[in-house]
Amino acid sequence: MNPVGLSWAVALGGTVAAALAALAGPHRSRRVVVGVLTAISGAAGVAAGVGALTGSTFTVALPELLPLFGLRFHLDPLGGVFVAVTGGVTMAAAVYGIGYTRHGLDGRVAQAGVPVFVASMVLVPAAASVATFLVTWELMALTSLLLVLAEHRRRQQVAEAGLWYAVMTHLGLMAIMIGLVLLAAHAPDDGFAALRDAAGGLSPAMSATVFVTTLVGFSSKAGAVPLHAWLPRAHPEAPSHVSALMSAAMVSLGAYGIMRVGFDLLGGGPRWWWWLVLAIGVVSAVYGILQAAMSTDLKRMLGYSTTENMGLVLIGLGAGGMFAAAGQHVLAGLALAAALLHVINHAAFKTLLFLGAGSVLHATGTRDLDALGGLRDRMPATTALFGLGALGASALPPGNAFVSEWLLFQGLVHGLPNGGPGTYVVVPIAVAAVALTAGLAIATFVKAFGVGFLAKPRTDAAHRAVESPATMLVGMGLAGAVCAALALLPTRVVPALADAVAVTTPAVTRPAVEGDLTLRLVGVTGSLSPLLLTVTLLVAVVGTAAGVRLVATRRARRQARLWDCGAGPMSARMEYTATSFAEPLQRVFDDVIEPEQGVDVTHHRQSRYLVDTIVYRRRVPDRIERRLYQPVLALVRAWGVQGRRLANGSVHRYLGYGFCSIVVALVMLAVTWS
């Protein structure tokens, strides 16, 4: 067994040990033991993933573990990226979980669920046969469902979120299963290697069917519009360290699935496949960030932001596929590297943001931005770390997502003149969507950070907040350090992704960028140096501060009253809230998001001219959900009501049903046997 296999096995062994310790160990030390063991697994996962990326792959077959099919694993560079992402997120979330789960989340099941969930996410990218993939995928869905439901006794909404998640994730699984089984039916066995060989002989209609059905399943896991409805429900209701694992690691596996099936197994495919992916990406990115900009629930906002970021990843994948189909392999490599880098960047800053949101929830008991504020004085470390994450998420320099969005832009800019027919329509729209997304993301995260952490506390809960325990800060610090490293040293990361990109499109032979300090695009012109830019920015800030000291008066800084129009100190009620901050944007995008708002004025009993109370209501429902899901749900409900007539309690009737079904089955067998 090579070092990659060894660390992969250590990662799995660590999670098993953690799960056993959670189930059988003493209650007192449970949190610490589980947290430490899971974090070690995470570190081993990072080692395995990075090892696989540097070229040493690893294969293992366990034929006796699963009847009929057996389990087969093969960790290649593409899987390595996602194993490393899972490992990294796990390290931060597991350490954070030691402190976070102290109150109410230290039961056996909730503690054992996390390592098993991690194990499933380490297994999925390494699965090398259809049966293995489906079994580990389902294990991942079930354990995450269990964790989403962990706090079902505390809040009513958890059950509803769990139901949505359970139904949608299983519909997604069905779609993936149908697609992969259709593909496997044309191959001698269900191993990915056999599928790869068989894909060449498929008819275009069949391979398109396989691609589209799996795309439905994978995009539902990635939270892409219109199959995103579970995401903004499940992520807020899950415990925060689980939200981080789900949002940063699990959701990315949707993108992994599209890359594995679309590129690796089916070998690319015609251009329209990737236009479809690009269209889903564009809609997801814009719609996701628009909903995030309107949202006042901190974790719901982060959930919608996940939809947005997965949309950006899908834009990268779509552009990559489109360029590959046009034979532009340099551009395809650039776009795919951008997509993979964005997966990594998103995982880093989203882990940090969800953990930060968890700390806020832990300290104040609320996720409502309108009820927060003033946390910078009470939780300085959390504020600084959340600010770092927000900088990353808003794609501004020196944040980390800026680099991946820059790469994505470069791919699109250079793809416009020579990306093949149709690109002159597709690419400008994609650029406009990415740009609008970038602009709205800035507004969204200024809102989240500014309203949530700066200014004055708006409620007593925010006023009484205290800084989180050390383990939570360490967990966030780990994620923050990774964010900073990714922001400053992408020159180390992007070339390492070359092997993973080569798995998807073997024609790409060179890394997309080169250079030690400066990212220089290979094959096309363009350069950026995040490290030097950050250094220059720091020098300029320090230089300006020194210049001011030199020029300005030497008098000491004095505290002064805020401008209150001479009416005395202002109360926190006069501050802008998250709702009011987003109001102009809500008005601008009125037609797209269709907010529900109303004003109820109650007049005084004695006179119509005197007003007693005014109640303002505003809700931004998910429009796609209302238009798309409600009719389906109503139809299913109507069927259920109709179906009741079949079941009237008579045993004779039920026996008749059984008889009829056997007859039908036999007839079908007789017809199809030959």
Binding site: A293, G373, G374, R376, L396, F402, F409, Q410, V413, L416, P417, Y424, P428, V431, A432, V434, A435, L436, A438, G439, I442, A443, V446, K447, F449, G450, V451, L454, A455, T518, T525, G526, S527, L528, S529, L533, L537, A540, V541, T544, A545, V548, V551, A552, T553, R555, A556, R557, R558, Q559, A560, L562, W563, M574, Y576, S580, F581, P584, R587, V588
Partner: protein
């Protein structure tokens, strides 16, 4: 040009922008005053204001944090870096490979974000209002700005500014095309919105219904306010210089000779002054748009930018 020459030329750009920006504001105010039949305070008044503010005692409003104090520094720093990167006088800036046109746009946005956070940090209704409005405008300007960037960089095949400028200098005929007109229109509207000029924002108003930029910076006083004012002036200068450089780059020095640099400096000042005077003269005839009419203006410029990109493909 040698590296030292490049550093010196970039330093010259920063000096020119830093010293010239308040003068540009002075010229624009003077033009406006004369057109309105007033005498005006003179071209040097913004510099006298800055000197006065620098001598005042620094004040921190109660309840604000470090964010409020650092924001003006970040605003100035980002603008200074952009002044060093953009080929205003020379195409040989050593920072050219460090930051391209996207990075320049992002850096200028970073300054706006820092100021918006400072506005929220004060915890007053004005600060929040200004920040909310500014972020709305930024979110809507971003697509126009980046699409216009795309339109001008597609024909060059690079987003690095010196290459865009050099390619136009080498082949002036390329500028004369519908793409340029469309992209220039879109970029002009985006620049007006980003720098808070009429009809998007009125820089000289302090009426709560209409303030955008001024609402955010209402709590600043003394040296902090001086930095904010100086940075706003430099942002306007840099944006106008960028506009001139993209669409009329003639005069920008491609060699390191002192004579070329001197000529380039003079030409840069003339170009920016002409654009500034045109902007100021135009503003006399414009009223500020209602805030919720601004998106319509920006959507219009967005369509122009999109047309520019599509046209750049067809006409290539």
């Amino acid at each position: 040009m040698s590296v030292i020459g490049g550093v010196a030329a970039a330093g010259l750009q920063v000096l020119a922008v830093g010293a010239g920006a308040p003068l540009l504001i002075g010229v624009m105010r003077q033009v406006r005053a004369r057109l309105e039949g007033r005498v005006g305070a003179g071209v040097g008044q913004p510099w006298r204001d800055l000197r006065k503010l620098m001598r005042k005692e620094p004040l921190s409003p109660r309840g604000t944090s470090e964010v409020f104090r650092i924001a003006p520094l970040i605003l100035v720093a980002t603008t200074l870096i952009v002044a060093a990167v953009v080929p205003l006088v020379t195409t040989a800036s050593p920072l050219d490979s460090v930051a391209d046109l996207f990075a320049v746009v992002a850096l200028l946005t970073l300054g706006a974000v820092a100021l918006a956070l400072a506005g929220i940090d004060t915890g007053t209704a004005f600060g929040g209002m200004g920040a909310s409005r500014e972020m709305t405008i930024v979110a809507l300007v971003e697509p126009t700005l980046l699409l216009a960037v795309l339109a001008v960089s597609v024909r060059v095949g690079s987003t690095n500014l010196s290459q865009i400028v050099t390619s136009t200098l080498d082949d002036p005929a390329r500028v004369i095309s519908p793409v340029t007109v469309l992209a220039a229109t879109a970029l002009a509207v985006a620049i007006i919105a980003e720098t808070g000029r009429l009809p998007v924002d009125n820089p000289s108003t302090h009426l709560e219904l209409t303030m955008v930029h001024e609402a955010m910076v209402l709590e600043y006083a003394g040296p902090d306010l001086a930095l904010v004012e100086w940075a706003s002036a430099m942002r306007l200068t840099v944006f106008l210089g960028l506009f001139a450089g993209l669409f009329a780059p003639w005069g920008i020095a491609t060699s390191g000779s002192l004579a070329a640099l001197a000529v380039a400096l003079v030409v840069f000042m003339i170009k920016v002054a002409v654009l500034g005077v045109a902007l100021a003269a135009g503003e006399v005839f414009l009223a500020k748009l209602r805030l919720f009419r601004v998106p319509e203006l920006l959507a219009g410029s967005f369509v122009f930018a999109l047309l520019a990109v599509v046209a750049s493909f067809f006409l290539a």
